[in-house]
């Protein structure tokens, strides 16, 4: 009974949201504006975009940053309204002016592709800086990449390392993977094979195929991590199953080298493996 399950889950989520909301403001009733916002969210989830717009538009006009952000998304994706990227940007700008990090992040993306606005890497970077400073992991990662390549900014490997490591600390798998490469190659930081292996492992554990390949290779060589060929085969198997081409090659070579017992054990571990959330 999928309907029942999802209803129960939604009721649970709603309870948790209410509990959190009430917990944060003891004694205060859920404000009318919040209730309107949540009605809008329910309409949005049901695909009733006109209904969502009805709830969010007045809130957005009244200065609610989350409603402004969501209106921006609706115009950007053309949901319930004609697609209008300039209008999307207008709403995101209003929210961004209030310090809304997700709006700042989406604005920077619009500048990168020139959507609804003239393409401008410099502006993209300055919006990303704001979002990254407010703690948005995706922005920290993106900014780190821009500093690494020197797109829209002067190339600065130390800054690239700083932002990528901040995003990695927040658990962003791609950032952890990139951090691993920076430690491995000594980019923006001193070379450190053990730190590289730790970073690759963290991303691999979340299911990131490229990192699974890298940690597999390191386990074979015993580079920065104790040599363990069976565990290596497990990681290479997991990466290969996600379609990673070099992992497939590496896996084949290692499987030939290991005996049946090692192969079976790696296979068993791969079957039982689950990504860490």
């Amino acid at each position: 009974m999928p309907g029942y399950g999802s209803l129960k889950r939604r009721a649970f989520v709603l309870c948790v949201m209410l509990a959190l909301g009430l917990g944060a403001f003891p004694g205060a009733p859920v404000s009318e504006a919040r209730a309107g916002f949540e009605d809008g969210w329910r309409a949005y989830q049901a695909g009733d975009f006109a209904g969502a717009l009805n709830e969010w538009q007045p809130l957005a006009e009244g200065g609610d940053a989350a409603a402004q952000f969501n209106l921006g998304v609706m115009y950007d994706e053309g949901r319930g309204v004609a697609e209008d990227r300039a209008k999307a940007l207008e709403w995101w700008m209003k929210a961004a002016a209030q310090g809304d990090g997700q709006s700042q992040h989406n604005i920077s993306l619009a500048y990168i592709f020139g959507r609804g606005v003239e393409r401008d890497y410099g502006k993209a970077v300055s919006w990303l800086e704001k979002a990254a400073a407010s703690g948005i992991a995706r922005s920290q990662y993106s900014l780190g990449k821009l500093y690494g390549y020197g797109h829209g900014v002067a190339k600065d490997e130390k800054r690239a390392f700083m932002w990528i490591s901040k995003a990695a600390e927040q658990g962003l798998d791609k950032a952890q993977y990139n951090l691993g490469k920076m430690y491995r190659d000594g980019i923006g930081v001193d070379k450190d094979v053990a730190a590289a292996a730790r970073a690759f492992l963290a991303a691999a554990e979340q299911g990131y195929a490229k990192a699974q390949n890298h940690i597999g290779v390191r386990l074979v060589r015993g580079e920065g991590i104790a040599k363990d060929e069976v565990q290596a085969l497990m990681w290479l198997t997991l990466a290969a199953r996600q379609g990673h081409a070099s992992a497939r090659e590496n896996r084949k070579a290692l499987a030939r080298k290991l005996g049946t017992a090692g192969r079976d054990e790696a296979e068993r571990r791969a079957r039982q493996w689950k990504p860490r959330k």
């Binding site: 999928p2 309907g3 999802s6 939604r10 949201m17 916002f37 949540e38 969210w41 949005y44 989830q45 049901a46 695909g47 975009f49 989350a66 952000f69 969501n70 998304v73 609706m74 994706e77 053309g78 949901r79 004609a82 997700q102 992040h105 989406n106 920077s108 993306l109 990168i112 592709f113 995706r138 990662y141 993106s142 990449k145 821009l146 390549y149 797109h151 791609k174 081409a245």
Partner: protein, 208 residues
């Protein structure tokens, strides 16, 4: 009538460049079969979109899976990269293709996932180029005039795949190709890969 003829002209002009590889042989895609494929796909998509018991995220995920197996993403990705494709290294190609697929699926499943109350009508189908078929459709929307979309389809041993969609006379992949070419001119292939990597981080609507 004029509009349709114009559409056909644009189609041929835009997509002439997407020719079959020499080894593929003149295996033709039957327009009737292509129309059946598009009909089945539209029925499946409309039923996913109409599943009111599923959350928006779940509907988008199902649309994403449908699109993933119905669109020839590797071929479209290669075409969209244009002249930069032969110059890209194997690693760049792999990275680009992964990101391109992710980006297309994310964009279109978000765009389609929320829709409801649409209707889908096949107008006609015909051959296109040496081996493809084109299926002309009209998509009715609850608000606004119906949308004209033409689907370029190629059949092969592994089934039918969409190669392009031409909405109101504008080829999606030709548009993509020129957008990408501009980026590659400015920043090179790595710059394009970087931009795609960032585009897939765009935030969707949120609950609080």
């Amino acid at each position: 009538m004029m509009a349709r003829r114009w559409l056909m002209a644009v189609l041929v002009a835009c997509l002439g460049g997407l020719s079959a590889p020499a080894w593929a042989g003149p295996e033709k895609t039957s327009p009737d079969e292509a129309a059946k494929f598009i009909t089945a796909l539209s029925k499946e998509t409309l039923s996913v979109l109409g599943a009111r018991d599923a959350s928006l995220g779940e509907r988008e995920e199902r649309v994403r899976q449908l699109l993933g197996r119905s669109i020839d993403l590797p071929r479209i990705g290669r075409f969209a990269l244009g002249k930069a494709w032969p110059k890209a290294t194997p690693e760049q190609r792999q990275e680009y293709q992964l990101l391109f697929a992710e980006w297309v699926l994310r964009t279109y499943s978000r765009r389609l996932g929320g829709y409801s109350g649409q209707s889908f009508k096949i107008i006609k189908a015909g051959p296109l180029g040496k081996r493809d078929a084109v299926v002309f459709t009209k998509i009715g929307r609850p608000s606004g005039p119906p949308l004209k979309a033409a689907w370029r389809v190629r059949g092969s041993a592994s089934g039918y795949k969409i190669l392009d969609v031409i909405v109101e006379g504008v080829s999606m992949i030709a548009t993509q190709r020129s957008e990408f070419a501009a980026l590659v001119r400015r920043q090179g292939v790595m710059g394009l890969i970087d931009s795609l990597r960032m585009q897939v981080t765009k935030f969707a609507a949120r609950s609080s």
